[in-house]
């Protein structure tokens, strides 16, 4: 085999995209041709360099929000439900990043019992989060006053969700709503951080030990799960993970 032929196929050889016979031919040639072997090194080096050094451009949050919103809109139109009443009001939410903290109802959560349960719950709260933004249904009660939001849940849930005012720390409460996770009514509280919104869902998880998971990413949103004082908290957002963690801490400990 001539060097010329080898060099031509070196690129595919590096990618392991030659058939076994072709690959062996190249290998045999490389074993005894230092020039081609050097070229091989160069080609491998190029790949390494690209992977290590070429900039990667992830989608900006604003684009992510617009795209999710578009998908959700298509789906809700299909259901024929006219939810447009508040589109004008909440349309701008699509461009904003959001943090959702979910306070769930009596749903039995398996976080302490298995990774699968955890992952699927993570998917659910993210979906719920995205829906809340995209379906123009972020809040049933819009208020920055915890003494308005907390009583609003009376009679709607079989527990009273803790509602903490974190405005002083830069995370003002802006409202709350009922939500549903796995068919159960849950409470969702909405907070805001700069342009980012936070939806908080929580529910009683009696007997569970206090625990905290580091932020995880699901479909571009960050999810923090906390158990504290017999309550489970799910916090979802595209706010950066550091601030989200800090928020979660303050939320559950009240400081």
């Amino acid at each position: 085999m001539q060097c010329e032929d080898v060099l031509e196929r070196l690129s595919a050889f590096v990618d392991d995209e030659l058939d076994p016979l072709g690959s062996r031919e190249i290998q045999e040639h490389l074993d005894r041709c230092p020039t081609c072997a050097e070229a091989l090194g160069g080609m491998r080096g190029l790949g390494e360099r690209l992977r290590a050094e070429a900039p990667y451009y992830p989608a900006p949050d604003s684009l992510r929000a617009r795209v999710s919103q578009a998908a959700w809109r298509e789906a809700s139109r299909g259901r024929g439900a006219d939810r447009r009443r508040s589109v004008a009001t909440w349309g701008w939410l699509g461009a904003a990043a959001t943090v959702v903290v979910v306070l769930g109802g009596a749903w039995l959560f398996t976080s302490h019992h298995g990774v699968d349960g955890f992952a699927s719950m993570e998917g659910e709260v993210v979906s719920s989060h995205v829906r809340s933004l995209m379906a123009s249904h972020l809040m049933d009660v819009a208020s920055t006053d915890q003494h308005t939001v907390k009583p609003w849940f009376n009679g709607k849930l079989d527990f009273s969700p803790p509602v903490t005012d974190l405005a002083a720390s830069g995370y003002p409460l802006i409202g709350g709503r009922l939500d549903y996770l796995r068919g159960r009514a849950v409470a969702a509280l909405v907070y805001q951080r700069r342009k980012h919104f936070i939806n908080v869902f929580t529910w009683p998880d009696e007997g569970a030990a206090d625990s905290e998971t580091p932020p995880r990413t699901h479909q571009g949103y960050h999810v923090v799960h906390e158990t504290h004082g017999g309550m489970a908290y799910w916090i979802v957002s595209d706010l950066n993970p550091e601030e989200l963690s800090a928020f979660a801490r303050m939320l559950v400990t009240g400081k």
Partner: protein, 190 residues
């Protein structure tokens, strides 16, 4: 490769069922970053890339019911890729010749923090510039291969060309890029 079942944006459309929305969120949405990265490299402009990705997603959403496969990534990327090439063809000719694109992309303003690793930044800059100067067909296959790790078959699917073409574009693209990044500096190449 006939997976390209995405018709015109104003072609037949159907709203997503809740199940389809879930499936869309599961199979397609996760590749938003890949979509954006590809568009950014193909179009070499941040705003254009965002617009193209948004357009592409709208088309993907509206024609998602035509998506049968399991590989949402290749399906999405092919829509993104076609959207980008349509945009490029509408642009004034700017040296999209197959050999070597001499148009040097304007280096973006970036405020270097005090602690940045300047050497690393410079290396990244030269790699990006080398890629940006390649003809778009070569840039495309290199990004799909090296940054997304797609197989030749998948790249062929995305680009709508035979596998042999993928192979030769990669070989030529790499050869040009190696020359461009050689210590001697990026210079003409035949």
């Amino acid at each position: 490769m006939t997976h390209e079942r995405e018709p015109e944006a104003d072609g037949p459309r159907r709203y997503l069922s809740p199940r389809e929305l879930d499936r869309f969120n599961e199979c397609v949405l996760p590749y938003l970053d890949a979509a954006h990265n590809l568009a950014r490299y193909l179009l070499r402009d941040a705003q254009d890339a965002e617009d193209a990705v948004q357009d592409a997603f709208l088309r993907a959403i509206r024609h998602f019911h035509g998506f049968r496969g399991a590989d949402g990534r290749a399906w999405l990327l092919s829509i993104v890729r076609n959207t980008c090439f349509t945009r490029l063809s509408g642009r004034p000719p700017s040296g999209q010749n197959v050999e070597f694109d001499e148009e040097i992309h304007t280096v973006e303003e970036r405020s270097p923090g005090p602690d940045v690793d300047l050497e690393r930044r410079a290396a990244a800059e030269s790699v990006r510039e080398g890629l940006d100067r390649l003809a778009v067909e070569f840039r495309e296959v290199l990004v799909l291969r090296e940054l997304e790790g797609l197989s030749y078959k998948e790249i062929a699917q995305v680009s709508g060309v035979p596998i042999g073409t993928v192979m030769s574009r990669l070989a030529r693209g790499r050869k040009q890029l190696l020359l461009a990044l050689a210590p001697g500096g990026p210079k003409e190449n035949g």
